[in-house]
């Protein structure tokens, strides 16, 4: 019979803090590479096959081939997505942390902030980039396998492929997110190597970030300046706390009350080369466009 609802504890995984406590996927040890982390994880144990799908009731022996297809799809997507997401997250984190902690001498402070930030960025990027490609790849693999049997007509195959892909999409996303956050934490220490070294070696000449910051310190009031000490990490701690569904919740509960400025096209006009007139559809964009602002925009842009 079909391996019914081998449902993992992935539900709600999207809401959990990335990388933190999601060890329910049972990775063994600290994997050295994405591929290895995926190999160590027996994905097929976690795959959900809905037993009510007609095809599998009729031909239960097809289930293992389908599990194989889903596993294959996840493996295909994970590596490129994770590599790209982690690379970007590490660069962004390095630049922002180096700047914000330029005056911080304690390398642990720098490292802690970087870890919190990089996990969130890498995980978020990996999730948002992988979801649709993963669904697509899963459907394709499933269609191919079911087509090969010559047993079913295409509408039945399509239905089964969609259902199985939907049921396993979160699993795939969680695996990819987890692989991304884990790789990000490992990679960021390498990316930050130089910045950490500067803090370890006394008397190291001023580094770029410090020079940058000192140039701009005078224009900033005390309260906004980067400084040393543990008191200013909150923004970075928010990266760990930020519940993914905060926004979804907020979006669902709050009415459309806030105005926004109109699309930010004003700057284009200065080059003389840019087209913008402000004939935004009058009843158009959902945000209230104030007449005065619109007029200003029109004059500025209408060259």
């Amino acid at each position: 019979a079909a391996s019914s609802q081998a449902n993992v504890a992935t539900s709600g995984g999207q809401g959990a803090a990335p990388g933190g406590s999601k060890d329910d996927l049972n990775l063994q040890g600290v994997p050295q590479s994405v591929d290895q982390s995926i190999q160590n994880l027996n994905i097929s144990n976690y795959i959900t096959i809905n037993p009510s799908i007609a095809i599998f009731q009729q031909y239960p022996n097809l289930v293992s081939a389908v599990i194989q297809a889903v596993t294959q799809a996840i493996k295909e997507i994970v590596s490129p997505v994770v590599d790209r997401s982690v690379t970007i997250a590490c660069i962004t984190t390095r630049e922002l942390v180096s700047k914000d902690f330029a005056l911080e001498q304690d390398e642990q402070q720098l490292k802690a902030a970087a870890h919190m930030m990089v996990q969130n960025l890498a995980g978020s990027l990996a999730l948002v980039t992988s979801k649709e490609p993963l669904r697509h790849t899963m459907c394709n693999q499933l269609r191919a396998i079911l087509n090969k049997t010559n047993l079913f007509d295409s509408s039945l195959i399509e239905q089964a492929a969609q259902l199985v892909a939907n049921d396993n999409l979160d699993l795939g996303c969680n695996i990819i997110e987890k692989a991304a956050t884990e790789k990000a934490v490992r990679d960021i220490d390498v990316t930050l190597d130089l910045a950490l070294l500067h803090r370890r070696k006394l008397g190291t000449p001023f580094h770029d970030a410090l020079v940058q910051v000192q140039q701009w310190l005078p224009i900033l009031p005390e309260s906004l300046r980067p400084k040393a000490g543990p008191h200013q990490k909150r923004v970075y701690e928010d990266f760990m706390r930020l519940p993914r569904d905060r926004v979804a919740h907020q979006a669902a509960t709050q009415p459309t009350a806030t105005g926004a400025t109109e699309p930010n096209l004003r700057g284009f006009a200065e080059g003389g080369n840019m087209p913008m007139q402000s004939n935004l559809p009058a009843s158009g964009m959902h945000m209230p466009v104030q007449n005065q602002q619109t007029e200003h925009l029109r004059v500025a842009l209408d060259k």
Partner: protein, 297 residues
């Protein structure tokens, strides 16, 4: 380096300036607290024109850029399946407005690019939902990229080419609103105007035809819904493409007929420079001699 903060073009008295500066600092500080952030985002994005030094203050103050980045990534879960509300869209667009400010400013553009922050906007450009919150999100994100390319900096072009912005722009040019189409076409035009960009797009037939087909389908669309500003950018793109020999050859067969139709191009009668570009384009593409002359070189 002491950089004075002058607001309102310096029309106010010095007392007002100090007050404005205090207000600005307070708003930037408000960004760091969740309770005050949303109001500060709205206020700052409205007033960004009034503060010439807003960009360096946003960038160099502690944690502000990280906060803006949080505003961006926390919207990601609302993209697929599409669940973005007007409220969430407005809020993130205000954050994007501040990043656009950073992208436009001479002192911060390079740092912004070096930190790869534009890449966090690509998931927004990759959305396809036609609802207003999404349309507005794409338009505002395009605005940030547009602000970058407007600076004619080859580092910007290089960054965009290596990060595959062109396919994203092409899709918006095919399916977006008129305004989004125009900004996306402007971005492609700016990429083409850079030598490296032209070379990149003309390097393979596949890339060239991807661009040429979209331009041509936009011209077709204009027959039904005319837009002078969009047509202007399309013509500029074609003209620049025609400077590449292989592209010029290809354009002889794939330049839309409408561009040769005076009834269609009559809308450009008041726009001298675009009319000049158009005749130059038709001459270059239509005249085989220009090709031979170039080949002899």
């Amino acid at each position: 380096m002491q950089v004075p903060i002058v607001s309102n073009g310096g029309q106010d008295g010095p007392g007002d300036q100090v007050q404005d500066k205090e207000k600005l600092f307070q708003l930037v500080a408000d960004l760091s607290r969740e309770e005050t952030r949303e109001a500060a985002l709205l206020e700052l994005s409205k007033k960004r024109e009034a503060f010439p030094d807003l960009a360096p203050i946003l960038w160099h103050s502690f944690g502000t850029t990280a906060t803006l980045l949080q505003e961006i990534v926390c919207i990601y879960p609302l993209l697929t399946p599409p669940q973005l509300t007007a409220h969430a869209s407005n809020r993130v667009c205000n954050a994007l407005a501040l990043l656009q400010c950073v992208a436009s400013h001479q002192e911060t553009r390079t740092l912004f690019l070096k930190a790869h922050i534009p890449l966090f906007l690509y998931p927004f450009l990759n959305t396809v939902s036609k609802t207003r919150p999404f349309e507005y999100l794409r338009l505002t994100s395009l605005g940030v990229i547009g602000a970058l390319v407007k600076m004619d900096d080859s580092d910007v072009i290089n960054f965009l080419l290596t990060t595959e912005i062109i396919p994203l722009c092409l899709r918006i040019m095919e399916t977006g609103s008129e305004l989004s189409k125009t900004v996306a076409t402007f971005i492609v035009q700016k990429i083409l105007l850079d030598d490296m960009g032209l070379q990149y797009i003309c390097a393979t037939a596949e890339r060239f035809f991807a661009v040429a087909n979209v331009l041509s389908s936009m011209v077709n669309g204009l027959t039904k819904d005319p837009s002078v500003r969009l047509l202007k950018h399309i013509i500029r793109c074609y003209l620049r493409l025609s400077e590449n020999m292989r592209a010029r050859d290809a354009l002889r067969t794939c330049l839309p007929e409408q561009l040769k139709d005076p009834a269609f191009t009559n809308c450009l009668r008041d726009d001298n420079s675009t009319r000049r570009w158009l005749s130059q384009l038709l001459f270059t593409v239509g005249n085989p001699n220009t090709h031979e002359a170039q080949v002899e070189l």
